[in-house]
């Protein structure tokens, strides 16, 4: 039994597992982000991920008992990241219209809503937020034109997209938040992202600019970030150990 465990869970097996997972990652690079993401959220793959997380936990715990702290942190960090990802996946599966996990809203200036939409054309009702969002104004700022832009006969590239919104949470005075690319807002566990924008016409045929805001709730995120920190600490210790080793030791 012990030799079997050593063979399956020992370092020889670990090299193979690393190689195998590496090839798996390469295989998932081909179908593209959407199809690979959908494939990975299949229950069988979630179970496999759970097994992988358990294996990492087992190795982390074993290394901890043997006082190999670099290996312990590395494996526990991996387990933590995987567990965080699984938590996020399970939360997305358990989401209800009363408590959605993700969704987006298309807004023009002055719109007020708490409804989220999903699907490629954002026409599938995804649920209701525990707060209301009003779009005060959507800004598109461009760089100053230069010679290259004029030659190409097009607009200068965009420097910033910004949606200024007023958030109304129950039991709190309304407040203003700015949502920009790389600067999401966070309200009641939802991160709010400046996802997209576009130009269209209203019912009278007048041109309007609309913004698309994305809302994501991921309760696994703290676990993932904690895993990142632990994993990186483990790698640091590992590097220090290898730098201290002389010759073929360690």
């Amino acid at each position: 039994m012990k030799s079997f465990l050593d063979r399956v869970a020992g370092l020889g097996g670990a090299s193979w597992l690393c190689g195998f997972l590496s090839l798996g990652a390469v295989a998932l690079a081909f179908p593209g982000p959407e199809r690979s993401g959908a494939f990975m959220s299949h229950p069988a793959l979630l179970l496999l991920t759970l097994a992988l997380a358990a294996l990492m936990l087992y190795h982390g715990a074993r290394a901890l008992l043997r006082r190999r702290f670099d290996s312990a942190l590395l494996h526990l960090g991996c387990a933590c990241v995987l567990a965080g990802w699984l938590t996020g996946q399970l939360a997305a599966r358990a989401a209800t219209p009363e408590h959605p996990a993700t969704g987006a809203m298309v807004m023009v200036d002055g719109d007020v809503t708490d409804k989220l939409w999903a699907g490629e054309k954002l026409n599938v009702y995804a649920g209701r937020l525990p707060f209301a969002v009003k779009l005060e104004h959507f800004f598109v700022e461009r760089y100053e034109r230069n010679a290259q832009d004029r030659d190409a006969g097009r607009d200068a590239p965009v420097r910033e997209y910004r949606s200024r919104v007023t958030i109304t949470e129950p039991g709190r005075a309304p407040y203003v938040a700015n949502v920009r690319v790389n600067h999401p807002a966070c309200v009641r566990g939802y991160h709010i992202y400046q996802m997209s924008w576009g130009e269209s016409a209203d019912v009278y045929g007048r041109p309007v600019t609309y913004t698309v805001l994305q809302f994501i709730r991921d309760p696994g995120l703290p676990l993932v970030y904690a895993g990142f920190a632990v994993l990186f600490a483990g790698i640091l210790l590992f590097a220090v150990r290898i730098f201290r080793a002389r010759g073929g030791a360690a």
Binding site: L23, A29, E34, S36, E160, Y193, F228, A245, R246
Partner: protein, 261 residues
């Protein structure tokens, strides 16, 4: 093939010439001359990166062209480090590696200046890309340093030296690779909304990371029992890096979130 008739192009071609001249001089045993060329080449490479930064007005790490300029400038200090720490004279192979890296920057990639789109305006931009630049250079050098381990039957002292030097170089590269991956993931969450998007470049980077994970596990398990296998694993890792930088960046097959380059 594009010839760049600009100051930037001139600096790149000068660096290239100096690197090739350094390698040639070292090859024929003119060490002092070779070292002089090698250092001058480094100085010009740094100048080239600095000029690019001034000229574009942003950190020169936005696209592959700028990425490769930085990689070429990182080699000389690393070469010095190997010499001091491991007593290895890698100047010739590093100069050749530098020339190889600068070739696409000089003749393949365009040097048009594009202003930063909103997605790239982040304090994580420089650390994320810089980690990968330094990490990739380190790992490429680890594979080169491991070359003597491929030859059998090798003399044992030499294999030991190559193993210690390549493993220490690889672990430094692995550390940077991990940092780049984690910072990228964090940035992805802040910018795109998800820390992992199953994007092709993410998947290839993860595959590379896992491949080096396999190398370190194998080295721990078998020690120096099979030096050839260790060298082969380092070269497979390098192959993944080269593929990530070339095929995955260029091919339409791998369209994804990383299409800035």
């Amino acid at each position: 093939m594009i010839l760049k008739m600009t100051l930037q192009g001139g600096l790149i071609y000068l660096t290239l010439t100096l690197f090739v001249a350094a390698a040639a001089a070292l090859r024929v045993g003119r060490r002092a001359v070779g070292r002089g060329f090698w250092f001058t080449g480094f100085a010009v490479a740094v100048l080239s990166v600095v000029w690019r930064g001034i000229h574009t007005g942003h950190p020169p790490m936005q696209n592959l062209f700028e990425f490769f300029l930085c990689m070429a400038a990182a080699l000389w200090p690393l070469s010095q480090w190997s010499r001091r720490r491991h007593g290895l004279d890698t100047a010739m192979q590093d100069a050749l590696l530098g020339a190889l890296i600068l070739f696409p920057a000089g003749f393949v990639f365009g040097e048009e200046v594009r202003r930063l789109p909103p997605a790239l305006q982040s304090p994580l931009f420089v650390p994320h890309v810089a980690s990968y630049v330094a990490g990739y250079v380190m790992l490429a050098r680890a594979a080169l340093i491991a070359l003597p381990m491929l030859r059998a039957p090798a003399d044992e002292a030499r294999v030991r030296q190559a193993d210690a030097a390549s493993r220490q170089t690889a672990v430094a590269g692995f550390l940077l690779l991990t940092l780049g991956l984690l910072l990228g993931s964090l940035w992805g969450k802040i910018c795109w909304g998800h820390y992992w998007q199953w994007d092709p470049k993410e998947m290839w980077s993860l595959a590379t990371w896992l491949m080096y994970g396999g190398y370190f596990h194998y080295r721990l398990k078998n020690g120096l029992g099979n030096p050839k296998a260790l060298a082969v694993l380092l070269w497979v890792g390098l192959l993944f890096i080269v593929l990530t930088l070339t095929w995955i960046n260029v091919s339409r097959l791998f369209a994804g979130m990383h299409n800035y380059a």
